[in-house]
């Protein structure tokens, strides 16, 4: 059993050349990059839209202004997640 494990380890070791190792690390960290980058903006956008809906429900006559501001806020918040996505693309494919 132990011998088998050793053989497997050797075989995998042999198969991995440095460039591939780097690619693998990049691919793995790409997932982390995007996943982590999505947390904050996710919370932020949820909070933002919830508050905006609250404001619109309280004051329907100001709904247009609130909506515009909400989209602006979403745009700014979302940019962070999108930068994470770009980093993902860079790590994975560049």
């Amino acid at each position: 059993m132990e011998a088998l494990a050793k053989i497997v380890a050797k075989a995998t070791e042999a198969a991995v050349d440095p460039a591939d190792a780097k690619n693998q690390a990049a691919a793995a960290s790409a997932g982390y990059a995007y996943g982590l980058a999505a947390i904050g903006p996710g919370i932020g956008i949820g909070y933002l839209v919830g508050k905006a809906v609250e404001a619109m429900a309280r004051q329907p006559e100001a709904a247009g202004m609130v909506r515009t501001t909400m989209f602006l806020g979403i745009a700014f918040t979302e940019a962070l997640a999108l930068i994470g996505f770009v980093v993902f693309i860079l790590l994975k494919f560049a």
């Binding site: 247009g64 989209f71 602006l72 745009a75 700014f76 999108l82 693309i89």
Partner: protein, 252 residues
């Protein structure tokens, strides 16, 4: 089991030239210009006195959308002179986004960095230029770098932040937002299309009915992309309006 073989990213983003240095992105950009001009030319030809129909209705709706939904909300009445610029920006980006879901195009032209980058750079030049024109060179940079109403000691902190945010981050985030949104949508569509296709063509006959699930997802995402195409064009336009308004009237 099936193994989904995802094509290299450039295979779904880069297109061969149909003519020297004229690929699908260029086709979409040129078509966007032609379609936009055609709609407005038809609108301009139509009788203005009658109730608007067809192309004229479309054109007037978009003009009013830009004036009431973008300019009045951000710049106020004296920003109405920017209508042609913002309208063109909005229409061009929208018409470049929409081919992402139109069969045979299936590619938003804005999912490549070229068009968003160029537009963002142009917007950067425009709002800085507008600020310099309205307040003079010194006045503009003073109002950008040293915002009034801040304690003097804090300028050490505020000025670099304002510089980075106003001069570097704004065009960058403007370009990246549009580009990354459209690219993400495109990749999502590709993924689900590939998934359902490989399920439909699976050797294991049992897997074939499951291909319907990603197909439904694909349909849903296509509908979502319709929304995103509009929303991203709107956000790009309204942010441009906000930047221009901020540069022209720093007190707001």
């Amino acid at each position: 089991m099936i193994a989904l073989e995802f094509p290299p990213i450039n295979a779904i983003l880069r297109w061969q030239d149909v003519a020297p240095s004229f690929n699908k992105i260029a086709i979409i950009a040129v078509l966007a210009t032609i379609i936009g001009c055609t709609i407005f030319a038809m609108a301009a030809r139509a009788d203005a006195r009658k109730a608007p129909r067809g192309a004229r209705n479309l054109a007037e709706t978009s003009v009013e959308f830009i004036e009431n939904g973008v300019i009045m909300q951000t710049m106020g009445r004296d920003g109405l002179g920017w209508t042609p610029f913002l309208l063109t920006l909005f229409l061009f980006i929208y018409l470049c986004n929409v081919p992402g879901i139109i069969p045979f195009f299936q590619m938003p032209a804005t999912a490549r960095m070229a068009i968003p980058g160029a537009l963002a750079l142009m917007v950067w030049v425009v709002y800085n230029g507008a600020g310099i024109k309205h307040q003079g060179f010194g006045g503009y940079f003073k109002s950008v770098l040293f915002p009034p109403g801040v304690p003097k000691a804090l300028y050490v902190l505020v000025t670099p932040i304002e510089f980075i945010s106003a001069i570097i981050v704004r065009p960058f985030s403007l370009a990246v937002r549009l580009f990354a949104n459209m690219l993400a949508g495109h990749i999502l569509l590709v993924t689900f299309a590939l998934l359902s296709e490989s399920l439909f063509q699976a050797k294991d006959k049992i897997l074939i009915p499951f291909g319907v699930l990603p197909m439904f997802m694909l349909i849903f995402l296509t509908g979502f992309e319709v929304l995103v195409a509009f929303l991203q064009a709107y956000i790009f336009t309204i942010l441009t309006a906000v930047y221009i308004g901020g540069a022209v009237h720093p007190e707001h």
